[in-house]
Symmetry: C2
Subunit: 690 residues, 2 copies
């Protein structure tokens, strides 16, 4: 015991960083690791350029600027949300693709917000100082919410930049992130979904893979293409097997530093619940889609999202049920606790584990009710979301900034209004479908006998009630939303809207559940902060915190892997795409778009199409640029393989790989398939032709 403890104190780093693990903070990059392992010097200039060329899609995803004229690239499946909202029965951009041959043809997205990280500031001390030491959890939470709102507002007022205080290390640190914001974003090019997501759900998360999963946008300012200083030079050669590459993107969330108690709760409660819900929704949407082409179009993006999450989470749970992953987790926690034991200065850290376990138990007991009522999973419809936002905006906006529900804080106002007043289509039939099913789920989850359930159903069956609510609400009318939002609580009450009445009916219970989450979340953050301090003190401050949908740097090598005794090469080609189509007899989802059949002979079939690397990524990294040592764009992340799915909880590059579209494939497809030479030139020259 003593020897190993001594060894730990002397030489074992904070994490045993295996291979190319890590989603590193841009202000705490793994300089030493890169130098030692890859003989690469990550200079400040190199990092700043990459940071400022990286783009966050607020709808969930990553991207990067690729020309001085505001051109930026992400994945098709990141752009799909915007494409879906712009599509109609007559014009289905998702299915047909899109190319603006002239700037005037570019399609303005309805509610897309992009963020570009400008600066990071550590505000941990300021936040923690404002939280009284021995307050109860609810008071501490209120104080923390207040100071965070204050810091954000102050920064917004001073800089005009979007300002978010981000919780890192599960509560160990608080950083202020300032972003330049773009809300006039236009679609320049999208391929057909059939080639972007070639192989559909069956090939999703698989490799070898053959997807042209890209979408090009242009950011505008004051009605003109944004002038961008930091953009990535496009490499025509692109990534090669064995190359060191970097990924700069926005992994949405990981759970690598949670305690064993939290880990077990995810495995035993959260994930099974979530998977059950996803499979329920998948069956609902898939079967509704099969009833007509127009149904399929309306449900397309939602169905993709559900299937994508389902396949990912099925992979995650398979990982969590692998005893070797559990025993590694158990061992790591036991070892670290052993280091804390008997040391008064780490007593709070050691006690933190028990506090987290207790808070986890409390939350688990409320979880289903909270998800159904407060997270709104019992009222699955855009209309309910709008109705609740209007109701709560009326109640929250008159309060002081620091006392509001966080989504109504001044710093979040612009983003909230962009979404609330979006002109996106909301289809009554689709709303009834999802609301009826989720009301049925609510009854199952909370019980027919629950008094609130009885009030929610109002003496009707879920189907009848859903039909009545969706027919009766005016939530689909943007002018109505504006009027109520601006008129405040009085207008909201006067509107007598049945969906708002439903939101009001559940609001007391929903808010009470949220308070439990806030208070227990505070307990966990404080406990994690203590553990974090102990770790820094014992093991130094190296490492990287769990992902938080903030900009991170990952690195790795373009590299194949062995699967079931066979070597899987790192790179696929267009030739492989056509072979796959033939092998699968062009049966959907392995059919090729007509243009790809027609232009086959024009293509250089040896062009690299997709490739895998050992870079550490997760959901949210979709669309992240892959750059080489020179900082050039050599590819774009769009997926991970099946073996990467448990990365949510622990990284391993034994077989796990990140999957990218190769830069050469993008150029070749634009040129030979789509006749988009002008766009290809902009990528190669880094600016539009005059």
């Amino acid at each position: 015991m003593k020897v190993s403890l001594l060894a730990a104190l002397l030489c074992i780093p904070a994490f045993t960083i295996r291979a190319d693990e890590g989603m590193w903070l841009f202000d705490q990059p793994p300089r030493q690791l890169l130098r030692e392992r890859h003989q690469f010097d990550a200079t400040d200039a190199w990092l700043e350029h990459l940071q400022k060329a990286s783009v966050r899609f607020n709808s969930g995803g990553s991207g990067s600027f690729v020309s001085a004229d505001g051109l930026l690239i992400s994945n098709h499946h990141v752009g799909a949300d915007s494409l879906q909202k712009l599509s109609t029965k007559e014009k289905n951009y998702l299915h047909e693709g899109f190319y603006a041959r002239a700037p005037t043809q570019e399609l303005k997205c309805l509610d897309l917000e992009l963020n570009v990280l400008q600066a990071i500031e550590d505000v941990t001390a300021r936040i923690n100082t404002a939280v009284p030491k021995d307050a109860d959890a609810a008071t501490a939470f209120a104080a923390r919410r207040k100071i965070i709102a204050e810091v954000e507002k102050e920064s917004l007022d001073r800089t005009g930049l979007r300002s978010d205080v981000v919780t890192l290390w599960e509560g160990g640190a608080y950083h202020l992130y300032r972003y330049k914001r773009y809300t006039d974003v236009r679609i320049v090019f999208a391929p057909e979904q059939q080639i972007a997501f070639y192989g559909g759900d069956p090939d999703n998360f698989e490799f070898p893979r053959y997807d042209v999963d890209i979408c090009l946008f242009r950011a505008y300012e004051n009605g003109q293409p944004a002038k961008v200083k930091n953009f990535l030079r496009f490499s025509a050669a692109g990534a090669r097997d064995g190359d060191l590459i970097f990924v700069s993107g926005h992994p949405a969330g990981t759970s690598r530093q949670i305690t064993l108690a939290e880990w077990e709760s995810h495995r035993d409660q959260r994930l099974p619940y979530y998977l059950g819900l996803l499979k329920r929704q998948e069956v609902l949407l898939a079967n509704w889609s099969a009833r007509s082409e127009e149904n399929a179009r309306r449900a397309k993006d939602d169905l993709f999202g559900v299937q994508n999450s389902r396949k990912a989470e099925d992979g995650v749970i398979a990982g969590l049920l692998d005893p070797s992953m559990l025993s590694a987790k158990v061992r790591a926690e036991e070892d670290f606790k052993a280091k804390l034991a008997g040391k008064p200065e780490f007593a709070d850290a050691l006690a933190g584990y028990d506090k987290i376990a207790e808070a986890t138990r409390i939350l688990a007991a409320q979880a289903v009710r909270a998800r159904v009522l407060e997270a709104g999973q019992g009222f699955n419809s855009a209309s309910f979301g709008i109705a609740r936002t209007l109701l709560r905006a009326g109640d929250e906006r008159p309060k002081p900034n620091g006392e509001r529900l966080t989504e109504f804080s001044d710093s979040g106002k612009e983003s909230l209004e962009l979404e609330l007043f979006s002109d996106k289509p909301i289809y009554a039939d689709f709303e009834m479908l999802t609301l009826a099913d989720s009301l049925t789920f609510l009854v199952e989850a909370l019980g027919v006998g629950d008094p609130l359930v009885q009030k929610i159903l109002a003496g009707k069956s879920p189907r009848e009630r859903a039909a009545e609510l969706i027919s009766g609400t005016k939530a689909r009318d943007v002018a109505f939303r504006r009027r109520l939002y601006e008129g405040g609580a009085v207008s909201v009450s006067a509107a007598n809207d049945p969906m708002i009445a439903l939101a009001r009916l559940v609001d007391a219970d929903a808010r009470a559940l949220r308070k439990v989450y806030e208070a227990q979340g505070e307990v966990k953050q404080q406990a994690h902060a203590a553990i974090s301090r102990a770790r820094n003190s014992l093991l130094g401050t190296t490492g990287y915190p769990d992902a938080t949908f903030t900009l991170r740097l990952a690195f790795g090598v373009v590299k194949g892997y062995e699967d079931a005794g066979k070597q899987v090469p790192a790179v696929t080609t267009f030739a492989g795409l056509y072979e796959r189509a033939q092998e699968m007899k062009n049966r959907p989802p392995f059919d090729l778009p007509p243009l790809w059949v027609k232009r086959k002979s024009s293509l250089n079939l040896n062009t690299p199409l997709n490739f895998v690397s050992t870079a550490d990524i997760i959901g949210g990294n979709s669309g992240s640029p892959v750059v080489n040592r020179a900082g050039e764009f050599v590819g774009i992340i769009f997926d991970g393989n099946l073996q990467s799915l448990p990365w949510d909880y622990a990284f391993s590059d034994k077989q796990g790989r990140a999957t990218s579209v190769h830069s050469a494939a993008i150029l070749e497809a634009l040129d030979k398939v789509y006749g988009a030479q002008e766009l290809g030139r902009e990528l190669l020259n880094g600016r539009r032709s005059k």
Copy 2:
């Protein structure tokens, strides 16, 4: 109170039979109802002929003889099980269809058993007398099991006929059913699944409908076509709008006479659990199917079954969550209880409600564990089923007949062996898929920490463990099965088969759970018997018991219905089929088989294709003959509409309808599409041409 009680005693029938409700016993037919409502006289001869022409498919379904030479007809989706088992990668009968132009080409089914009801005998008194009055539930169950096994064995020995004691009225009566058994059954004709199940899952349970859901078989005896005295004459004209029709088939089960406590338990526990499992399996099978054509072929029949059940049960739960259905149930039970109150002679019936409620609570508390371990839902694979049967056969067969688990009783031996030694293909990859998923489900359902779960997983992840079990077991080898079955417990132990070891590992827990089900089932049966006696005494003995997969007579009228303000006509035509295909752009599952495209011009497009009627049916009725007053075959049941789905719990013909293929469509398709003139002649002549 008094008046209504008096009214009840004087004139209100046992059930308020609404409209054409009822799944009537053949020995207690609704003669009076038919006479009064439809001026039809159901003579003994008419009934006996229909009874003996009706066929039960032991695999789950109904059918009828339609020629003196053993030709019989059922649904394609009933025959699908046999077609799937006979298909290979090279020859997919399910997809391509099949027609034996000569008797020698007829395809012998691997493990199909048909039953034809010969006689019914009421054995209630004999069964109940053998059960000691004041014994505890377990003892009473054992006594009941023993006497049932005895009655069955005695009948089998005496008559050579399959002899089943059937529990009716949830325990109110016990009838001995004797069947002629056919186990040499050959497929004569099956259309392509694409026309049999035209419109697939999206159009399943919908109307208007356009399916040629038929399959023709021939029963053999001693290697020769069976000579059949009772068969149905095929009507070329078939059913017409407004006609009185009869359905003779085997509804598998309904829950109309359960108590409110049981009803609520179905709604709150059983159905949500079952639907969750179905949706989980649908996602699993659909996505595995999408990965390759061969996967799709292997999973086809299972996927159909899962989707079919899921759509049905979604409809059932929608019905149960309709407050009007609940209030009708509540009122009926309250009214009847009011009639019992204060009457010492009905005290046991009144107390029965509480006993049933208590038993239902006990069962609900054990239900998940029982389903996972004893019903085997945690080990979803053919191999596990075989392994468990071998293990238990070794343990059970040496016991006296009346003390064995019921499935090992002497009277069930022939059926059990037919299934156990079936040469049906079992695919290792498919087995691993379903076993891995169900082991994951087992972990979720029982918890990782459960000691038995730990032993089941044996230190491996569900996927690893499934792969190891399926690779290691010899259950797929029929010779191995025979050897172990014949060698008994010693051979079973000596085999050291890992899947049998797994079955043994869970057997003590599984059997213990089964004992709970047996004992509480006995409690419920006794309580229902008391309620049943009170009902007979108060209201007379008219009415029909819940469905039990025994032969029932339903009747109704060919009749359209109103839906969303529009009148849905009762009959569709071939013209409608081609219009539907065009409307849906021939997109799967609305594409037509090539032969149907080619032969369109030969068809009389005005031929009736499908029709709806008010006959009371449920799952298991699939393939039931629809006959007219003359007892002629005018159609074949294959489905009910969406509004019929809650019929499981309560009948209503406001919109609910049974759906049939019209006899004229069958003749027209055989003649014009398939060139099966010989078969058409046999149907019209009632015998093969010489």
